[in-house]
Amino acid sequence: MKFTLSWLKDHLDTEANAEVLADKLSSMGLEVESIDDPGKKLAPFTIARVLEAKPHPNADRLRVCKVDTGSSIVEVVCGAPNAKSGMIGVFASIGTYIPGTGITLEAKPVRGVVSAGMLVSEKELELSDDHRGIIELDAAFADKLGERYADALGLSDPVLDVKVTPNRPDCTGVRGIARDLAAANLGKLKPDKKPTGVGGDYDCPIDIKLELPRHAADACPCFAGRYIRGVKNGAAPAWMQQRLKAVGLRPINALVDVTNYLSLDRGRPLHVYDADKLQGAIRARLGRRGERFLALDGKTYQVDDTMCVIADERAVLGFGGIMGGEETGTTTDTRNVLIECAYFDPLRTAATGRKTGIVSDARYRFERGVDPAFILPGLDLGTGMMLEAAGGEPSRRKVAGAPPETKTVISFSFARVEKFAGIKLPEKEMRATLEALGFAVEGKGGTVKVKAPSWRPDIHGPADLVEEVVRIAGLDKVPSAPMPRASGVAKPVLTETQKRVRHARRVLAARGLVEAVTWSFIPEVQAKAFGGGQPGLELENPISSEMTTMRPSLLPGLLAAVQRNRNRGAADVGLFEVGQAYRGDAPKDQFVAASGVRAGASALAGSGRHWTGAAPEAGLFEAKSDVVALLAGLGFDAGKAQVAGEAPSWFHPGRSAALKLGPKLTLAHFGEVHPVTLELMDVPGPVAAFEVFVEAIPAQTRKSLARPALEAADLLPLRRDFAFLLDAKVPAGDVMRAAMGADKKLIASVSVFDVFEGEALGPGKKSLALEVTLQPRDKTLTDAEIEAVAQRIVAEVKRATGGQIRA
């Protein structure tokens, strides 16, 4: 919403300058987005008179003008065809910056004649596109030689641009803004002038009807109109054109300009029809499928039966409250007109606006809710201005329907202001504020009846009145009040999952991985490749084909990031993300994963080549190591879970696994990403990846903070090595578990120190070498006891896995 300072002063008697007014508006909820003073860039330009224009001695198309600048007589070279003796124009001296051309004037000879400056066109001042000649002012300016052009013409009028929030339709008009400022004591609201002589003495010759079905009667409850015959629809008065131009509107003709002006001045859109182009009665009705019309924006729109249209006997003329039609619009030839001043339902207007995509000043106001009590006064005001601008004889008003009633009355206790806003204000001041804003306050004492003005559809209850009082008093005046604190030290506030998420990030970052945040939506084809694409997870209106589907896994985003980094020259990449993924659209289907990828030589020890030895190419075991460490970091011993070769399809079937607790509870997947999946992602492999399901990990039930006592035996542990010959398919984990189980008391740990497959062992065989640590508890073990444990280990491994001890 743009307006100029002088326009505001039509309604507000104030001494405040634009900056002061803007600050107050912003603090009251009418944020001023810009103050633009066109006078500033025009400041160096002054009014001058051409005393004499004679031909340039060396150029046919140039003239040398003797110019009276008010302070001296100078010679100016001018190429404009309209430069002539006696004319009043606009002068720029040497050194002046010309905004329209971006050039600063320099003193240099033009074809041998030195010019002392320049006579400028409107285009050179960025006032219009007119470059046919230099500005030619009315002879009345002859006594203003030397004065600033902008001041003399009233162009030094700052333009304020206010961002009007959707709850304030009244502030889509200058008067509404003036009223708020007056309530804030930044001036006095000037009394409204009643138009006179608009009543007319004949009936409107065009009938106005409301033809709305009962269920849509609210689409247009009131349609008022007036006929004016014999108008001369020329240009609007200069002052009006100037204001419209200042706020970015192009003057069209007197009648249209009046409707635009009132829309800005009062937030009251009108429409004016060329009455001679109408057939029969004009009416508001619902559209019919198949109807269409050519609108004022030059486009043809389809109409449907949810839209409120204005039509005559023959056809649809326009969308009610949004845009009129080209065919019945006014031109300079128009002689007789019908003015429309109606009320259109905000919701229906908004819906039609969205469907058609039309953005117009009328829609902007109707969808916020115009003042229903201002239909008839608005019509009269518009009529008066049209008569002034274009003459003619007005008819009597014709009104179909009646303005919707507004009767919001709120029982309001002034004490509420302190209770909700924490500010103590005198009751008198609060009452004055409300009254200045147009509220009627009835009753005395603590609780009063407050009637909202017709132009404030946003007022529903006491909270709204608190807001009115406080925003006018100024939120900055509300004193800060400390919130009561719980006594003692602050308590921990994170939930179990929140703690895990936090921890997971730190563990993975401590392992050299870099945290990324990738999009929650990914291309559908990628979602499907990672088990996603369930119903309800696709966007109706994605912003791009790369962001169509909610991700089922964090891996697609991370893999894509790997490749982007490689394309920027990174060789080895280790990334992780801890975040949400989706199995369906219900809240319970959203889950948290901690996932990571390692590509190239990227391992815990570091990445890339190094003189101490290059990092290994990341594979299954780098991923497994990340998972085990992450689970440990979250307080869970990965050794308690089963490692099953059941990772999902996006992993390499032979080099991946799932970590499970029972058949249904999966804690993690890890391994190399399947080559087909990588191909789909356009990522050259191999890439190691893992996914840990953060919420699936069983909660650690901790009864006491006390640690169990340390069992550090006094006796030295002893180590014995065993090598077993096994079927190549026997998992090492089974062999270790069997060895471990041979003597649960004595065997402290089992580790694998060698795995060997080779022809010497025979096909399909492998050798697995274990180191078993025995921890004597009470006494030193005898050779015989050690031998007995060794035998049990051999026997247990053989029983469980068929492994033979190698000699």
């Binding site: 806003a421 604190r485 945290e515 570091g606």
Partner: protein
């Protein structure tokens, strides 16, 4: 030659040999030749038997003296040679100490700025007694809009540039229309539906809007705050935000500006600016959050009595405050996963924000 002369000559000869031994093998050879079983000193001692009895004692003493002196000389020389050998070995063991070492995972890894800043925010609000609530990203339009006092057709719904989930609310009968939440405010509703006041929560999370340009991304992070009890008012809200800003930006004072505004779910509503002096750029106001008293309709939509309960809510962009605090220039980079950017703007695993140690350490 007298015995005395003989012994002196031998001592002189042996000491010369000891001094001349060049390495440990050499000194061992000298030792064997001098003191070994068949060495020259025992050999001399053997002459004892051939001496007259009255000379034996003096001769024996003289040879033993020789033995002791030669033995000491051998030890001294041996120690010298050993030290020399060690010095020579160490001299040969000099390494190029300028060779680089691996930085190690703690230096390589990074925490994303948004995660870090959330931890900072949680630390601050945790101290003020706020717990952390969460809600789903895919939300019903009822919770994202209607219960927040944004009825269908309300113009604010359009201002939110909502992403809708395909097929919801149409093909599946009676199923609600699902949207990607446009703000974290539905967590207010979820919280009020689930627990009775007093309530003090913050709710961080991803939010989504159909918007993409230099300063907008279709996904970003918000943090919501909600306080509901029987007495919290605008003054408390101001205090809460002032304290937060001071703690978050780690400065003693933050000048703030509170402007009236409009959000459907708060009344009165206000937008809050901070003086950019807090981030070292005085002379500019920066908009950082929207807030207000929770609208009575929202409270009653959650089954609470707005005559009894009141409170405030606020919402701010987590990415935005991270950018302000750490001078990160472009929002879009937050989601680009560019290693160069992450290493530069990220934090290490041990940069854990605490109130005791300072948020940024």
């Amino acid at each position: 030659m007298t015995d005395h002369t003989k012994i002196s000559a031998l001592e002189k000869a042996l000491l010369a040999e000891i001094a001349g031994a060049g390495d440990l093998d050499g000194i061992e050879r000298v030792r064997i030749a001098a003191l070994g079983k068949k060495g020259r000193v025992p050999e001399l001692m053997a002459e004892l038997g051939a001496l007259p009895a009255d000379q034996r004692r003096a001769f024996g003493q003289a040879v033993n003296g020789l033995k002791t002196r030669v033995g000491e000389a051998l030890e001294v020389r041996k120690a010298e040679l050993e030290r020399g050998a060690l010095t020579a070995r160490l001299a040969a063991e000099i390494t190029d100490v300028t060779l680089p070492v691996r930085a190690g995972p703690l230096q390589d890894g990074r925490i994303h700025p948004v995660s870090q800043v959330f931890d900072e925010v949680a630390e601050i609000f945790g101290d003020m007694g706020f717990s952390i609530a969460e809600g789903p990203d895919i939300e019903s339009d009822d919770l994202n809009f209607t219960k927040l006092n944004i009825p269908p057709e309300h113009p604010a719904r359009q201002e939110h540039d909502t992403f809708y989930m395909k097929g919801t609310g149409k093909e599946r009968d009676n199923a609600p229309v699902m949207v990607l939440r446009t703000h974290t405010s539905p967590v207010q509703i979820r919280t009020m539906l689930a627990q009775k006041p007093p309530i003090r929560i913050i709710a961080p999370g991803r939010v989504y809007r159909m918007d993409s340009d230099a300063t907008h991304t279709p996904m970003f992070h918000q943090i919501e705050g909600l306080v509901i009890d029987e007495s919290s008012h605008l003054g408390h809200l101001k205090w809460c935000l002032e304290e937060f800003c001071k703690a978050f930006f780690e400065v003693g004072e933050v000048r703030m500006r509170f402007r009236a505004s409009h959000f459907p779910f708060t009344e009165p509503s206000m937008e809050v600016d901070i003086d950019a002096a807090a981030i070292g750029k005085p002379g500019k106001w920066l908009e950082i959050l929207g807030s207000g008293m929770v609208h009575p309709n929202v409270i009653s939509n959650c089954g609470l009595d707005p005559e009894k309960y009141q409170g405030f809510a606020f919402g701010m962009g987590l990415d935005r405050i991270a950018m302000l605090k750490y001078a990160i220039p472009d929002l879009r980079d937050m989601f680009a996963a560019d290693l160069r950017w992450l290493r530069h703007y990220g934090f290490t695993a041990l940069d854990i924000p605490t109130l005791a140690g300072g948020l940024s350490g």
